[in-house]
Every structure is written in C-alpha cells, then in structure tokens.
Symmetry: C2
Subunit: 365 residues, 2 copies
Amino acid sequence: MPKTEPKQKRKRPATLTDVAKAAGVTRWVAGQVINGGTANSRCSKATRDRVLLASQQLNYHPNHAARRLCGKRSQTFGLLVASAGDPLRSFLVQSLDVEAVRIGCHTLISNTIGNPAVGSDQFRHYIDEFTRLGVDGVFCAVHRWWPGDRRALVQQHPCTVFYEDPGIPDACYAAVDRAAAVRLAVGHLAEKGRRRIGLAVMTLSRPTHCARLEGYRAELSVRGYEFDKRLVFNGEPHGLAFAWCEEDTRRWTFPVEVVDRAIGQLVCDAGADAIVAHDDFWAAALIRRLRARGIQVPNDVAVVGYLNHYLADWTDPALTTIDLDHQTAAKAMVAMLEKMVEGDPPNGPDRVVPIQPRLILRESA
Amino acid sequence: MPKTEPKQKRKRPATLTDVAKAAGVTRWVAGQVINGGTANSRCSKATRDRVLLASQQLNYHPNHAARRLCGKRSQTFGLLVASAGDPLRSFLVQSLDVEAVRIGCHTLISNTIGNPAVGSDQFRHYIDEFTRLGVDGVFCAVHRWWPGDRRALVQQHPCTVFYEDPGIPDACYAAVDRAAAVRLAVGHLAEKGRRRIGLAVMTLSRPTHCARLEGYRAELSVRGYEFDKRLVFNGEPHGLAFAWCEEDTRRWTFPVEVVDRAIGQLVCDAGADAIVAHDDFWAAALIRRLRARGIQVPNDVAVVGYLNHYLADWTDPALTTIDLDHQTAAKAMVAMLEKMVEGDPPNGPDRVVPIQPRLILRESA
DNA sequence: CTGAAAGCGCTTACAG
DNA sequence: CTGAAAGCGCTTACAG
C-alpha cells in the first residue's frame, strides 16, 4: 500500500484566533460577539453575522480550560452522594443535574462510599478533588450518618449546599418538612374513616425523626383523636431497623422481625386500622408481613409509606406514600448555591429551605 | 464598629511557585517531585521531602485548568444517559464512576432526556459540551431507541464506548449476553422440574431481543424439551408493552392488559408451569396478575425476571432474576475507553465485550 | 540540579 | 472598532 495517506492527525479544534481570522476581525471583536459582551452592540450586525458564521463553520467552542485560567468560573458543581446508584438518591442526583444544566452548569458525580480505590476517607478525597478541579460550589447529599467531615467541607468550599440538615452551624440546606409529611398521611387516613392510626418509626432519637412524632400528635389533635402511646412503634430498642444493601451481593435486607413486632404491637395489641410507616421499605415489608398473617391491606389495615420510592408502584397493593418533591428541592438547592457563588449567600432563616411533601394516592390507603 | 477588619478576601490557592519558594527549590524541581516525573530519582530524598512537606502545608493542588491548557488530559469522561435517576441505569452510572475514579478520572453526568432547557436535541447539546469541556472520552449508556445521533457522537468523539450495541458500524461496546441469560433461567427451571417453560418477551423484532429466543430454544434442546410455539408470548402485536414513567408524575405505568394476555396464552392455554419474563417489570406484573387469578407463585407457576432490578427484593414473593453484572460491564467499558484515549483502540472482535449474566435466586423460581 | 523562556487559549485593560 | 500586551498556572524544551 503506497504511503500516500499521511497518518491523519487528530485535527486541532478551532480557536478564537481561527474564528477571528476567518471572519476578518480581531480576536477581541470575535470574543465580544461570541460572549455577548457589552461591546456587542457597538459592532455592526454584518460583523456579528460574519463572526457567528465563521464560528459555526469552524465548529468553534471556547476552550474551557483557558477561560478558567483567566479567572472565569468553571461552571461545574461537585456533587457528593453516598452512592449515585442508590434509588434513594438517584432522582435527587438527576434533578440537581437538570437544574444545574438549566443555569449552564455541569455536575460532577462523587460517590463517597463503595470506592476504596481513593483511600479510606473518600469524602475527604473529593473535597480535595473539588479544589483541584476548581468547582464553583458543592452539593452534599450524603446522609448525615455516613462518615465525612462536613466542617472541613464547608471550610474548604464555602459555597456548599446540603440536602437535609448536616448538623453543623450555619449550613445552607433544603430539607423535607417531616412533620407535614406525617400530618398529610394522618389527615388522609382520618378522612378515610380510620380511627386507630399507628405510627411506625425507626428511631425517635434524631431531631429530624422526632418531627414525625410532633406532626403525628398535632394532626391527631386537630382531628379530635386521642393520643395513645401504644399506637407509636419505635424500632430503635429493637436494634438495626433499616433496610441495608449488601455491598457485594447488592441484596437488600430488611429486619423482618422488627416489622413483625411492629405489627404485633400496633395491630394485634393496640388495634390499629392504619399504619404510617417510617418509609417505603417499612411499608413494603409491612404489606408483605400483614398478608402473611391474613390481614388485608388496605381493607383491614391501611399503610402509608414515605419517599415515593421507585418500588411504591410495585408492591401489591401499590403503595400510597409521601413524595419528597426532589425537583423542588433541587431547584432550591441550585438557586441557593448559585447565589452563594455570586457572593450573595443566604442569611439567617433563608439558609434553610423547607420542602413541602405531597401525598401520592395509590392503593394501600 | 471600627474598620479594623479588612474584608476577608478568599485566599488564593497555593501555586507551584508558592510550593517551590517554600521548599527553596525551583518550580521545575517542585513539579518533578509532585508529578513523580522521571527526574524524580535524580533529586535527593531531602529535597523531595521538603517539596512534599511544603506542598502539604500549603495544601497545594495542581491547577487543573492550567495543566489542561498545556496539553494534559482532562481526566474527565462524559457520560451520556437517558436519565441518571432511572434505576434501570443508576447502578451502571455509579459503577462507571467508581471504575473511572479508580484510574484517576472523573465523570460528568449528562441526562439526555427530560431537560428541555438545553434545547430540543439534548444529545447533540452534550456532544458539543463535551468538546468544549475537553473530555478525554465519552460513555454512552442511552438506550438505542432513545433519540440521539450516535454517528455524530463518534465522529466528534472518536473515544466513545457504548453500553449495548448502538447499531452503528465499528462501535465499541459492552453488551450483556441475552441468549446466555435466558439459558440460565431455562436451565434453572428445568432443574427444578418445570416441564412447561414459557417465554414472555416484549418484542422479537430487534436483534438483541431475538437472542433471547435463540437462547430459549438452545437450552430447551439441551434439556431434551420440545419447542412449543404456544409457549412463546410476543408482546409486540399487543402494542405498547413496556413500563413507562410519566414525566410529570413520575408514576410508572405498565400495560397490565398485555400481561393478562400473556398469562392467558402461556398459562391458561399452553399450560406453562414457569415463565421467563422480559424483565423485572414484566415479572413483577406477572406475579401480581397471577395472584389476582388465584395462581400461586412459585408453586403453580415459577417466574424469572431479567435485570436484578432494585424492586426484585420487594415483590412478593421476591423475584428470582438475572443480574446484568454492571460492575463487570463498567470495568470493561472503562478499560476500553482508557485504551482508546491512550491511542490504542480495540480492533475487530475486541470492540465488543460480552457480559455474562448471573442467576440470582430468590423466591419466585 | 538551576534559570529563563515559550506556549497552551483565553480575557482584560490600555493606548490608539 | 484596532492592535499589541500582560497574565492566569502549568509543562516542557533548552542552555547552562
């Protein structure tokens, strides 16, 4: 084969100089036109058109690295999340990206668990990576009971917005109003004629979870129901009471015994005809275990979840649950972060954006 | 209040010059030490230690933009996905990131659907964004029936690796061996003594789906079972036969009628005692609809899914299904892309990496 | 090892 | 509008 064909070198992307040359103007003018600068109005439409045409023909895209080097923003946000694949967070991850893109920014995934390749302190690792990459700001959607030094994070990246209260002073975050969530559930059940509404929660030791009990009592009181402490099941004394995904098998496990005890206390002992569950996992497990006892959902006992998780459509009966409105949360978080990046951080009560949950009616209540 | 406190300016991150100065060496030496360059061995341990110490003390992190500007790789991969939040893909997204981080790279999320903010052709939008940002390569995990010009993608980004066959020539991709998946399912069912094993698929018009029928027939033949065409249900003639998530309500819908017809044909007419379902959604729907008819799973009819989707643990009974081994797929995709970036693209048969699925035993079969 | 220099592609401030 | 220049922080090639 003749060596007529020179080894095709990857063609260099067009630069601003190329565009300027092609359009017969100076770099400065080309830059002004492309960036929509103030001088834009000062140059003739003909000039502008020539620049734009050349830019298009050469498939010009401003070099991001060069822009950053002379002080422009990176237009990139870091996103800390325990694991982006976890459906518990995946929709929030997606919504954050969608909202970031809306203001011309990008999102960098950072899984802080399950990646020992980056060292033992993955959270810390990404804090430094974010510095190196020069992100404009950081979203942290890592549950507060996962490891990670949040103080170090906000110190190194003052522009950080959390999802849910990270438990450090002066943090900015969006958080679902859990009291309102339970009130929605209890209110709905009361309207459906349920008289003995139970509450099954994993724990009452964290403030965010206590809000549920408050909401529960408040709504009972509004409805003229008496509070009966036997109708509140707290999983905490029963040990590990949450769903858990095995790292290797990806198999979800759930402490069925705890749920059985909840049924024993709430339904068998206290005569509950409805249960507001800790979350959709609890609700799904309750539905299965109630069926195993021959108790019909929702006829005998109605069940309401919390999350509006993916699986809510696939339990049998489908789960009536509380949606956390991740989209609104994401919008709020992006708006907050953008203001911080622009040097206008929220103060006082504005640092916390409460998200109003919504009741999603399906079949279980 | 006295104006003693000057408005605290955001302190400039340390530069290589700062480190060199602090360590009392030239920028060149500092750079060599920090980058582990070849000259590293040429300088004394004392010098090295001084540089490393200074680097640590100043919390030095090489400026990414500057490095890129002088020709270094961005160490960033673009990741095209229909929607990162979709649990169908979210674990692949996570695995790709984890594997990318393992080789020192980062992943940029790019949701190609549901974000009209970036224009009508979101796929195209990201192709250009990737160019602008200077990603080293691209992962495309967008289902081939979603819109997007794959040819334009590989033309603009020769370093692109797909998940599943994108249907364009010379593409590099990892793809689950669907024939093997069905064989696993059929083999398991046969060993459990099932004699009338049905296959319910959404369509047989795409090559990737035909592989299932091939696998089905092959395994039947190995087991000495006769092929009975009544035991194959093709959803295609019955119209829309897949689960669908409403954009606004996030509510999943599934054409229950189609599943009912599948049960009618396979179980009632052809006497199936087992069904290999198109995917976990089909399987979950089959389980519900079988129960509605008083048919017990797995006693009367065993059901096997495909995906090992999140919901497999929450159907009742829990779903025996085929795991797609996203982790292995991600490893293969990252390895392939990395080789391409380094100028050593795979050729011929090496362009396609088949992923061997695994059977996950739960309760439904 | 040192040191001075060029260059990556852009933005910006400045003199005309 | 033009044009020449400086600078962002790094890497690299080069002369000592």
